[in-house]
Every structure is written in C-alpha cells, then in structure tokens.
C-alpha cells in the first residue's frame, strides 16, 4: 500500500507538462486527480518512474460553449461536470453520469480527462463520451490532435495516446432534443458498474461489456430500421465480450445488458 519510489514533477502549463513528459521518457505518467493512478501505484500494479502532476494547470478546467459544441477541460472534476448549469442544460447525460462516478471524494478529485485517458472499460464516462460522439483534443510533442471518441479506446486500459501526449479537452456536440438515459448497475452505490448503458438519441453505448467501452451497434441498427425498443434491446449483447469476475458471469452480464438497454431506451423515449 506504499508506492515504489518515483520522481515527481509539477507542471504549471500544458506546454510545460508536455516538455517535462518528453524529457522523462516513455514511461512517464501524467497525474491529474490521482484516483485511479495512485491506488494502482499503492498496490504496485503500476510502477511509473516519473509522474508529471498536471493538477495545478489552471487552463484545463473550463466548461464553456463554442460553435455548437460544449468544451470541457480535461481537468474538470466529476463534481464540476455534474454541477455545471451549462452541461445540465445541454448535455444532461454527461452531467448525470458524472454525478454517479465513485463517491463524493472521488468526484471532487477525479477528472473527466483522467477517466477517459485511464480507459477503464468499467468506468462510466468513456461510454458516455461514445454515446455523445465526443472529440478528444490532445497536446503532445508533435502538436495538437483531435480524435473521435470512437477511435480513442483501443484495449483494456489502452488508448491511441502516444507517450507524452496529454488529453487537454473534450468537445461534445450539443445533444439536441433527443432523449437520454444512463443506467448504472452496481452492487453498491460506490462501485464500478457491473454493466452500464448510456443512451443519447439513437446512440447506445455499453460500460464493462468488453475490453473497451462499446457502441451497441446491433441495437442502433435495429432501431434505425424501425424495430421497437424491446426488440432492439434483445440484441444488446451482440458483438460484446464481457468479462467474468466476482460480480457475474459473461452470461449474466449479457442478460443485464439486454435488460438495461431496454430500460434505457424506454427512459430515453420518455425524455424526448
């Protein structure tokens, strides 16, 4: 429960963070809220030689509107996202889901950028970013990139981020008038989802049904071709590869995905 030795550096600006990370080499980790990284380090499952603390970078915690988008700085905490009047109005799915992450301590320290970059398939916000069609804006040694959420997650805890590349901002198209729902199925209030579902309009994304957050394409296709919600929900497990653990078998998770997608589609419809 005590991390292995590491070097700690603190960046005041994005440029400084990128410079420090480039100097530190491949295994440098950015530290934001620390609520995923530090527990892993304490268990010595992750042993980074160097941390670049970006928590003090003021320019990355904005939540603002521009050109039909909402821009959320990567360091906005879950609590800020959950409480933002702008997000509650324009992207209620995001605000609501952020309010269900972890517990109050986690929500006051953990950040949206940290959650996406950590790419835990059991986390809530990666699936929400998929459902909302987010664009992830990064800064790295070779400049700025804009990456669609659908292209961002590549595997278990893996993304397209290059070593030293920092997730700086997440851009969300305004959701428009279509309904939304977020279903998080847990044993306890503070747990990661056993299975989760995010619905935004005609997009459906799944939490913890594979090594990455997933779009439930079969459901979306069924809806597009006019299927009733229940009929579409029955296809929720297609194309998934859910994990097996203490909380349930793959078959149980597939069942939950069908039930929860059905409930989510019903709730989203009622919010149109």
């Amino acid at each position: 429960m005590i991390p292995a030795p590491f070097t700690y550096r603190r960046a005041a600006t994005v440029d400084e963070a990128v410079t420090l990370a480039a100097r530190g080499g491949e295994d440098v980790k950015f530290l934001a809220g620390g609520h995923s990284l530090l527990p892993l380090m304490k268990l010595r499952l992750v042993v980074p030689p160097e941390l670049v603390d970006i928590g003090g970078i003021g320019e990355l915690s904005h939540i603002s509107e521009a050109d039909g988008h909402v821009r959320v700085g990567a360091l906005a905490t879950h609590d800020q996202v959950a409480g933002s009047a702008l997000l509650r109005r324009e992207l209620p799915l995001l605000a609501h889901a952020a309010g269900r992450v972890g517990d109050p301590q986690v929500r006051h320290r953990g950040t949206i950028g940290g959650s996406l970059a950590h790419a835990d398939p059991a986390a809530d916000l990666p699936a929400v970013a998929l459902a909302l069609g987010a664009t992830l804006v990064t800064r790295g040694p070779s400049g700025t990139r804009e990456i669609a959420a659908g292209d961002f997650f590549t595997g278990l805890f893996e993304t397209v981020l290059e070593p030293g590349e920092l997730l700086a901002e997440i851009r969300f198209p305004k959701a428009g008038p279509s309904g939304w729902s977020f279903q998080k199925f847990t044993k306890r209030g503070i747990d990661w989802a056993i299975v989760g579902v995010a619905v935004a309009g005609d997009r459906v994304a799944l939490v913890n049904m594979g090594p990455t957050p997933l779009r439930a394409r079969a459901v979306e296709d069924a809806l597009a071709s006019g299927a009733a919600p229940d009929e579409a929900a029955a296809r929720a497990a297609e194309g998934t590869s859910a994990p097996e653990d203490l909380n349930g078998s793959r078959a149980y998770r597939e069942h939950l995905a069908r039930v929860l997608v059905g409930r989510a589609l019903g709730e989203a419809r009622s919010r149109r």
């Binding site: 306890r188 078998s249 149980y252």
Partner: protein, 766 residues
C-alpha cells in the same frame, strides 16, 4: 431522576471528532523515538515448503537495519503444548502438532502468512526492501474449502494424519424425526467474512531495563500482557501493555496476533524500539476472518406448525491454524435451537484446517451462525407446510412461563418474552399490510417483488461471566472521581456509560468522572471487551465499587456530621450527604473525601458474581427484489433487541445500528473469496464489498426491556445482537420475495448474480 436510561451524549465524541484520537500509529511518545519500522514479508502462496530465504539484497537496501526470519528466533521457547482435553471448547489456539509459529519456518499455510520481518529506519524503505527478500517456495497442493479439507488428499500438518483437529457431538440418529409429518434437510453456507475494522492492526514495542512496554491495538490489554509474557518467557510484571485509542476490533483484536509478538521480540533483538502498522491489503489477508461454516440442517414437525426435532451439523473452516475457531462451532451448537422449544435437538461439529487465513471471533462469534441456521430451517419448514412463518415461530417460541429455560444444548436462558418481541415487531411493521402488498405485486406480476423476512433470536452474552471484570473507583478530595476499568473501550462508549453509573450511584456529575482503561501498570488485572460482556460484567464491577465507596463515605460523613450512619442519606440528585430530615446541613463529596483516610475513598472490585445472559428479539426486514436483474434493496428493517435494562439508550442504539449494518452486509454483500489455489480474490476494498450508508434504510428500533437477575444492573449484552438478528431476517426476506416462484434457499451473500441465478434456476453463477 436517575441518569440511567436517559439520552446522554457520548463524552468520547468531542475529542474523537475534533482534536482526533491517538491510535498506535499516531503515537509520538518519547519512548518510541528512533523506533525502527517493521514490514512483514508475507507468503504469496497458499501452501508451500520453504526451501530457502535469501535476504542479502534486502539487507543492502537503503535504510535496512535487519531482516529477521524464524531462524533468528533462537531465544524463544517451544510452542505451547495442546490444552488438556484437546481444546475444542476453549477459546485458545490448539498448540501441539497444530501450533502456529510466529514466523513461518519450513512451510507456509496461507497467503499472507508472515515469513520474515524487515526492520528499516523509515516506513517506506521497508516496503521497498521487503520486495527484495527472496523466498524459495516449493508449492504444495492447496486445501481450499471444507470439502477438500475433509477429503484429506493433502494434509496441512502431515504429522497429525488429518485435517480435522476437532470432532465433537454424538452420532446422528434419525429416530428423532419419527412421528414428523414433514422433514426438510438442506446444506447451507455461512460464508467467510472479514472484520474490516477502521483501524487495522498495529503494535509498537520498547524495552528498557529488561522490561517491555507494548502499545497494542487490542480489545484486551491484560490478556495481551499475559500472552506476551508467556511467549517471550517473561514474568507478566515485566510487561506493560498500553492500548491507546482503538479503532474497532469486532472480536478480531481479542488478545495478541503473532505479528505483534514478532514486533516485541524484534525490539528486544534489535535493542531499539520497533513499530508496525499494517496496510489494508495486509489486514484483509492476515487478520483473522469470521464465520466460515458449512451447515447441514434438518428440521421436522407436524403440519399444524409444531416443530418436533432439529439437527445441526457444522463444519467450521478454521483456516490454516486452529486458533479459537474450535470455540465458534461449540457456541453455535450450544445455541442451536434458538428461541424455540423443540423436543429433540441434535448437534455435532467438526473443525477443519484449510490453506486460508485463520478464522476467529467476529461480532457474534458462533451465535449468528446458530441463528442463521435455525431461522433458515424454520422458514424452510414453514414453506414446506404452507404456513405463515410468523405463525410457525409463534407456535414454537419458548413461552414466558418456562424461564429459566434449560436447553438441550446446555444453555440456561435467564429471562425472556419471545412471543411479545415477535408481536411487537409484527405490529410496528404492519405485517398484514405488508403481506397484502406482497400479494398485490404477485398478482400483477410486478418486476419488483416484495419480500418480508423474520428472524427471532436468542443469544448468549458474557458466556465467560465467571472470568469477571475489575473496577477501581477513587473519589478525590476535590470531589472528582476516577474509574480504572479492566474492560477495554474501542468505540463502544465505555467512558460515557461508566461515568453514568458513577453519577447514578453517587451523585457525582459525569463531567467530574474520569475513566481510565488499557494500561496494565495502572490496571494489572482485567479481562477485556468481547462477548458483549462489558456493561453486564465490567459495568456491574463499577456499580459494586461505587456502592462500596458510598458506604465508606457514609461512615466518614456520619463522623463529620456527628450522626449515626443509619441516619445518613445521600442525595444522589445533588451529590450531597446529609442527616435524614435535615437537608440543609449537607456535605459535598469533596468535603467527605477530604476527611477520609490517607487512601481517600477508594474501592477495588473484581466482580465475578455475574452469570451469562440471554438477550433476545425479533428482526423483520422488508426488501424489494428486481426479478429481471436480481438486485435487492432493503426498504425497512424493524427490530426489537431486548437486552434487559438499558443504561444508555444512545449507546445501545449505536450498537444496534452498527450490528444491523454488518448483518445486512453479510446477508447481501460480504464474502471473502479464494480461488482454487488458495489465492485471495477479495484482497482490496474494491472487491471486498463492505456496506455503506447508501445501501441502508433508517432502521426502526423498537424499545423493550426485560431485566435479568444475573447481575445487579439487570443488563444483558447488546454489542452483537444486531448482527445476530439481522442476517437471517434479510436472507429470509429475499427468499420470501421469490418463494412464489419456487425459490426455497439462496446462500449468502445474496448478490444480484446469485439472486438472478436462483430466479432462473441456473444455479449459482460466479
């Protein structure tokens, strides 16, 4: 008006909630200046021979003072011999061929077993250096679960020829079920759980002039001193044990674990103080676990609801070393028939060793297992004959005119009105309305079904009442008082309760009463806090000491007021002595104490006059079960927990709250899980699911007091009742919600996956 029974605020809280408590890890006393930090190297393998330990790399790491192993323990005597009669009923380790070493020497028997200890200048250095200690393990097949232990293919202690250190009870005789209309038999599991106190284990030790001072996070300082002295070969007088604030124990901190003994030994070896505070990861594998029983229950009776015969066979998973786990199934069998008057009761148990963390006492220690078994059995029986479970309970409860009631298991229930507790709960819960709502949901085929679960219980507290408890009360010349108690506060509120007892008896205000515990130099004799014994034994000791001081004071006051003792009266409202009929000429406690002899007003008591007591009650739990997902939500939890006379309702309710929460947690969430190789799967608090307030409703706690005659306070224990009553009430409620679909039993914890599997008849999916 007496302060007893009034809602006094806890005197402990201002300090604990503001300046903060001081736990072993927080100590910054001069005696521990320059202490080395200890870090244990623990086995990552459940069962293996140790073929070599190479500490040379660790020894060269920064800050390392020493790396010690069993080979360095050449200054310790042999392990203790087995207790006479083979243990079994005694709450002690077995010793002999089953002895548990301080550090593993040639064999490890569970993941987490300490193999070496690294002593460093700084704490962080210890964890880095511990990774460098290279232990060669030659893996052996792991024995996981009671079936594997009984099969005996692999033995943990080859010299013993068996994995079953204790077998007790008679042969099963099915003749007791003759004449029954209906007989139901079932194997059920009372799963292994982790105590998870807020403060994990910690110890610090310092030697000076051949004398050991040990700071321990323990529930029993004097027992700690006794064990330390025995293991280290010292006169008990050469050991001082101090317990600073202790952040919970739940039974797992009774006595001293091997880890703390190693700390004391290492401090002597090093010639400098040593301190240790385990991490949460260590705590989850190296502190004793609780429960861990496989039970076979068989119940039979008539179709009118009368139960005629009950049999309970227990296999207790002791983990790798039989510590006090032989005692747990003994208590389970003693309390097997619960609050019911059953003509024929048979019990038997076996204790088996497995390659898992040793089990021991955990809130209830054997009694929750008994209650869970009989309360499941009664519901199975009621379901089989198609009668309401409340009705079947009422038919079979021991009637109030049968007390004291002698059970087949050897218990003598002191006082009780079990049916009254049941009816009080049914009435407050609105039982008929709940059943009507359940029927409506069933008829509509709702996705979310309603379940109502009952648990009527009786338990034994202060089972070792004869062991007594000490109190020393001193009234000082300034009118203040000090209580030295052998009982050991670790969250319960002893300081509040003891001060209330002094105020009640002497009229000295609580604010003027200081309570001291947990320092064996100040309090050499004492028993400690466990078995829900504190108030009824330790509190009674305070009460008796106060009565003694009162009579001493009467003599002094009589002298001063030039009156006969018989005419002296104590105004306990105002704390004044006066002559009967003349309240104006009164003397304060300060005046009386100032005129007492050089010793002042003081009394020392070792109260051994108490008897075990039998608290009882009924819990009713109302749950919703989502039949599409298996998720359970507890809507209401209504209880009567009759613990005799209540001194402090605030403290008693606090005990019920915590106990019920832990009970609901065992029913729904908590389980220590191992894989087939004996690797713990629930090694962090992300996987081991303790309950939080978000999962709990506000409890509906009903008041009922049936005093006991077993002690002068009329009090029974309340510390464990909540856990004992809550577990089967919740389990029965979930099964009740699904009974119309043919579900008769689901083993705990009733996680969504398990409940869903039961609904779908697919067996348990994990």
């Amino acid at each position: 008006m007496s302060i007893v029974g009034t809602r006094v605020v806890r005197t402990e809280d201002p300090r604990l909630l503001t300046a903060g408590g001081s736990y072993v890890e927080d100590l910054r006393v001069p005696e521990l200046a320059g202490a080395a930090w200890a870090t244990f190297v623990r086995s990552p393998i459940a069962h293996a021979r140790i073929t070599g330990v190479d500490a040379s790399a660790a020894a060269r790491a920064p800050g390392v003072i020493a790396v010690l192993t069993a080979a360095d323990m050449d200054d310790l005597g042999p392990p203790p011999p087995p207790p006479p009669g083979g243990g079994g009923e005694a709450p002690v380790p077995l010793g002999g061929p089953w002895a548990e070493p301080l550090l593993a020497a040639d064999r490890v028997r569970f993941v987490g077993e300490p193999v070496a200890v690294v002593l460093t200048e700084g704490r962080y250095q210890g964890e880095d250096a511990a990774e460098l200690v290279s232990v060669d393990y030659e893996p052996l097949p792991a024995v996981v679960g009671v079936e594997a232990a009984l099969a005996g293919q692999t033995l943990l202690f080859p010299g013993t020829g068996s994995n079953v250190p204790i077998t007790a009870g008679g042969q099963a005789d099915d003749a007791i079920f003759d004449g029954c209309d209906v007989v139901v038999e079932r194997t059920i599991v009372n799963q292994r759980v982790a105590p998870v106190p807020m403060e994990a284990r910690a110890a610090a030790a310092r030697w000076a002039d051949g004398r050991l001072t040990a700071w321990l996070s323990t529930q029993a300082a004097q027992l700690g001193r006794f064990v330390m002295a025995g293991v280290l070969g010292l006169d008990p007088a050469a050991v001082r044990v101090i317990t600073p604030d202790v952040g919970g124990g739940f039974g797992a901190k009774v006595g001293v674990d091997r880890d703390a003994l190693v700390i004391a030994w290492a401090a002597r070896r090093l010639g400098r103080p040593v301190r240790w505070a385990e991490t949460r990861s260590e705590n989850l594998v190296a502190m004793t676990h609780g429960r861990g029983q496989r039970q076979v229950i068989k119940i039979g009776g008539r179709k009118d609801g009368r139960i005629l015969a009950y049999r309970l066979h227990v296999v207790q998973d002791a983990g790798a070393y039989p510590r006090m786990s032989g005692f747990l199934p003994f208590l389970t069998c003693m309390m097997a028939s619960g609050p019911y008057d059953i003509a024929h009761v048979q019990t038997a148990y076996q204790v088996v060793v497995t390659n898992t963390t040793p089990t021991g006492a955990y809130r209830g220690a054997g009694r929750p297992e008994a209650t869970a078994a009989i309360e499941r059995a009664v519901d199975l029986f009621a379901a089989e004959i198609g009668l309401d479970p409340a009705e079947v309970r009422r038919t079979n409860l021991v009637p109030p005119d049968r007390f004291p009631y002698q059970t087949a298991g050897g218990a003598r229930y002191d006082t009780g009105d079990y049916a009254a507790a049941l009816d009080q709960v049914l009435s407050a819960a609105g039982y008929a309305d709940l059943r009507a709502e359940q029927a409506r949901r069933r008829e509509r085929g709702d996705v979310v079904q309603l379940g109502i679960g009952l648990s009527s219980y009786v338990e034994i507290t202060a089972a070792d009442a004869a062991g007594g408890e000490t109190a020393r009360l001193v009234v000082h010349p300034d009118g203040t008082a000090t209580v030295y108690t052998g009982s050991s506060a670790h969250g319960q509120g002893h300081h509040t309760a003891w001060a209330m007892l002094v105020q009640d008896e002497l009229g000295i205000e609580m604010a003027k009463v200081t309570v001291v515990h947990g320092d064996t130099d100040l309090i050499p004799r004492g028993t400690g806090t466990y078995a829900s014994r504190s108030l009824q034994i330790g509190g009674a000791a305070v009460h008796v000491a106060a009565a003694d001081v009162r009579e001493q004071a009467r003599r002094v006051a009589a002298d001063l007021l030039e009156a006969s003792e018989a005419d002296l009266e104590l105004d306990a409202e105002r704390g004044l002595w006066h002559v009967r009929g003349d309240p104006e000429a009164a003397m304060t406690w300060a005046q009386v104490a100032s005129h007492a002899s050089a010793e002042g007003l003081a009394a020392s008591v070792n109260y051994t006059g108490g008897q075990p007591t039998f608290p009882f009650g009924t819990h009713l739990s109302v749950v919703e079960v989502d039949t599409q997902t298996g998720k359970v939500r507890v809507l209401r939890h209504v209880t009567v927990d009759d613990a005799g006379t209540i001194i402090s309702p605030v403290l008693a309710e606090g005990q019920r709250h915590g106990g019920i929460a832990q009970g609901i947690a065992q029913a729904l969430l908590e389980e220590v899980v191992y894989d087939g190789q004996g690797n713990p799967v629930t090694g962090t608090l992300a996987d081991y699911a303790v309950i939080t307030s978000a999962e709990l409703p506000s409890f509906e706690l009903l008041a009922k007091q049936t005093p006991t005659t077993a002690n002068p306070l009329g009090a029974k224990g309340i510390g464990e009742a909540g856990t004992i009553g809550a577990v089967p009430a919740v389990q029965n409620a979930v099964i009740d919600a699904l009974s119309h679909r043919g579900v008769r039993h689901i083993d705990m914890p009733l996680t969504p996956a398990r409940v869903w599997a039961a609904i779908n008849g697919t067996g348990v999916i994990l």
